[in-house]
């Protein structure tokens, strides 16, 4: 009998549309690989549907809140349905950029200097009186300002001087209750995708992102032609090795499995700095993970098959 896979997509997050696009491609790939596919837009009926359909595994093609923060993972654990991608703890750690950065710092993995400020710190504790301390804390302007927890660079801005800081923080705080101000590292932007886990992790070639406009923000991410991509990245073998090693270290430090994507920047000397990790990377036609796979001579279907096989093997081993 063919195994039944529920592909979870859509949902309530701000990245609903991206997720639907990822999900449709994943469905096609799974069907082509011979699975019986159940495409599910995540709504209030989800649990009921999963209970009646009893899929062998769930493929998580959700992005953003509820899909990447551990919510859906915790629910699937409770329902006893094996699922793709990192587990509850790894998701919760990756979703919160500040927690990720603290953890990486503890493990000696380089990440740009940063400050995290929450809406409550501003409302209840007068944090706005300390904005003048931020440049010194992160090593001066320019800085990147972004929501503490959100995907697809929603609410992300570059700030070049003190006058733009408050506006950028307020904008970031529209997307989450916390905002991160991070030192801006001038250099080469890379996305490094990792498949598998632990010692068997397979690091795919780095994809280099060159925004055509000022920065690789949400609009640029969603508009073909707004950024140029190179895969593998146009960097020295030494730099490629360093990026690959650091991405693998992040994947394992956060306890990720099956798939994750680490975004980092190489400074002028070729030193990698980790910006964030994504536990459910985009799988659309313009997403970074599929580009990386192609550069490694893997098809989209290869990636999807590999990821679902890992989830199904966990089901068998009862892990």
């Amino acid at each position: 009998m063919r195994e039944k896979i529920a592909v979870l997509m859509g949902g309530r997050s701000l990245e609903r549309e991206v997720s639907l696009a990822s999900g449709r491609r994943v469905c096609d790939a799974l069907e082509a690989a011979g699975y019986y596919v159940l495409a599910l837009d995540v709504t209030a009926d989800l649990v009921q549907t999963l209970r009646s359909e009893r899929p062998n595994a769930a493929y998580i093609a959700l992005h953003g809140k509820y899909g990447e923060d551990g919510t859906i993972q915790e629910l699937l654990e409770f329902l006893g349905i094996p699922y793709t991608g990192p587990g509850v703890v790894a998701c919760a750690l990756s979703w919160d950029k500040s927690v990720t950065k603290h953890l990486l710092t503890e493990r000696g993995i380089p990440t740009p200097a940063w400050v995290t400020l929450t809406a409550d710190a501003f409302k209840e504790m007068g944090a706005a009186t300390a904005l003048d301390l931020i440049p010194e804390a992160v090593g001066g302007f320019p800085v990147a300002v972004k929501p503490g927890r959100q995907g697809s660079a929603l609410g992300f801005r570059r700030v070049d001087g003190p006058e733009g800081l408050a506006d950028a923080l307020l904008s970031a705080l529209s997307y989450d209750t916390s905002a991160i101000v991070e030192r801006w590292i001038e250099g080469t932007e890379l996305a490094v995708s990792v498949l598998g886990e632990g010692d068997d992790a397979l690091v795919l070639p780095a994809v280099e992102i060159v925004p055509v406009g000022e920065l690789y923000d949400f609009d640029a991410r969603m508009t073909p032609g707004a950024a140029d991509f190179f895969a593998p990245a146009r960097i020295t073998p030494g730099a490629a090795k360093a990026a690959s090693e650091v991405a693998c270290a992040v994947h394992n430090a956060l306890g990720c499995r099956d798939v994750s994507r680490v975004d980092l920047v190489l400074d002028a000397e070729g030193n990698p700095f980790v910006l964030e990790s994504n536990s459910s990377p985009g799988m659309t036609e313009t997403s970074l993970l599929p580009m990386a796979a192609e550069a490694a001579d893997m098809t989209f279907q290869d990636v999807v098959s590999r990821v679902i096989a890992a989830a199904l093997s966990r089901a068998e081993s009862g892990k």
């Binding site: 990245e15 508009t223 032609g225």
Partner: protein, 424 residues
């Protein structure tokens, strides 16, 4: 293994300058997130077509095919069928505009009329005058031809004629290609131009020899007060755009344009190039739908429904919105315009609103510079049920209150630039 530059759109460098700058926007994707079933949308100006009796439309379409036969299925004249143009003259006579069928042509909604006029009049760099804020669809239609759009602010009586005059003095006679206005229940502001201002607008237009384009989709959707004469009834050089979208249904894509004869001849040429002719089938169906008096009762029911929804929104705004917010009180149409303190950014606030299950249209989209109006929002009361409107406004008020609290914390610390604090 060689490095490959990844190309999504290999034609990217071939597109015309006027469209290559158009990008997907975060706002559009936030609206996409709003397709969720639990979301209450106050963003779109969709007519309540559910109130249009399906049997009447079915009958009209049935009769169109049965009685008009091949005519309904064949190409037609570029100016539209004589029968529907006759119908439009009757509709226009009811609002005080006397026309002959040859004085107008049928378009695919008033939106096509906007595009045809833009194509007819605008060279890159030409000045167009419009209200600020103005209809986003007009901005889109005009922008494709790369004009310099100047916005004239409004108050509760519509476009400010003193400010229009200032602009005209700067531009001089024939200094703009046309003045675009939505005098009735303006989209997005909801305000109506007073009779005095209408007369003054026409005087200034004559004095500076600049045509006026009157866009009047909502004129017949009046809830309070008496009918106001369209500009076209006061001056037969006014170019007037009408539509069946609000008095019947937008799905038929039927509108009309009337203009001085030479202009109409040019617009007709442009229309031929655009689509040869409109849909005869849609025109035949509309002709039949408007026979008899049932459509009038439907229009009354639609207007009553919109009035109830306007009342629900105004009451909810009074009850829930903070004292820092100001909003317009429309006597008709679809929209209320809300202005928040200058430091509030309604564009990023939309993310929070979507999280809370409500959408609105951020104000910056209604200005050509895409910056002005950031502290404003357009709320559409036309589509949601009164109870949903009340709930949506309650949710939105919480989002705004949360934002204001944050802004106050920044202001108390002197952390917001003073220009923004001053503008509050």
């Amino acid at each position: 293994m060689g490095t490959a530059r990844i190309v999504f759109d290999r034609w990217a460098d071939r597109y015309a300058d006027c469209i290559s700058g158009v990008r997907s926007s975060a706002v559009r994707d936030l609206f996409a997130a709003a397709s969720r079933p639990d979301m209450i949308s106050l963003s779109g100006g969709m007519p309540a077509v559910g109130l249009v009796p399906a049997d009447a439309v079915a009958q009209a379409a049935h009769d169109a095919v049965l009685h008009e036969g091949v005519a309904a299925l064949q190409y037609g004249g570029s100016d539209g069928r004589p029968q529907i143009r006759q119908l439009v003259t009757e509709l226009m006579a009811e609002i005080g505009v006397r026309l002959r069928p040859e004085d107008l042509l049928i378009t695919a909604g008033a939106q096509q009329g906007l595009d045809l006029l833009a194509k007819t009049f605008i060279n890159p760099g030409d000045v167009i005058i419009a209200e600020g804020p103005t209809y986003v669809g007009a901005l889109q239609a005009f922008s494709a031809y790369q004009p310099d759009i100047r916005c004239v602010p409004m108050d509760e009586h519509g476009m400010r004629m003193d400010l229009l005059e200032d602009e005209l003095v700067k531009l001089g006679p024939r200094g703009a290609k046309f003045i675009y206005t939505i005098p009735n229940f303006q989209n997005p502001a909801g305000v109506t131009m007073s009779p005095e201002r209408r007369r003054r607008l026409l005087e200034l237009a004559r004095e500076y020899d600049i045509p006026v384009v009157e866009d009047d989709p909502y004129g017949r959707l009046r809830f309070d007060g008496g009918h106001m004469k369209p500009l076209r009834s006061l001056d037969d050089e006014v170019i007037y755009l009408g539509t069946f979208s609000k008095i019947f249904a937008p799905g038929l894509r039927l509108g009309w344009v009337t203009a001085p004869k030479p202009i109409l001849a040019k617009v007709l040429l442009v229309k031929q190039a655009a689509d040869l002719c409109g849909s005869n089938f849609a025109q035949c169906t509309a002709e039949r739908y408007f026979q008899g008096t049932r459509w009038r009762r439907t229009l009354q029911a639609l207007t009553r429904t919109y009035a109830e929804r306007r009342d629900a929104m105004c009451a909810a705004l009074e009850e829930h919105f903070p004292p820092e917010a100001r909003w317009t009180k429309p006597d008709g149409g679809f929209f209320i315009w809300v202005e928040l303190p200058a430091y509030v950014d309604c564009v990023s606030m939309l993310a929070e609103a979507v999280e809370r299950g409500v959408t609105y249209a951020p104000g910056d989209g209604f200005y050509p510079d895409g910056v002005t109006g950031k502290n404003c929002m357009r709320l559409a009361f036309c589509y949601a049920q009164p109870e949903a409107i009340e709930e949506a406004i309650r949710r939105l008020a919480e989002v705004i209150e949360d934002r204001l609290e944050l802004y106050r914390a920044f202001m108390a610390a002197g952390a917001l630039p003073s220009r923004q604090e001053g503008a509050a």
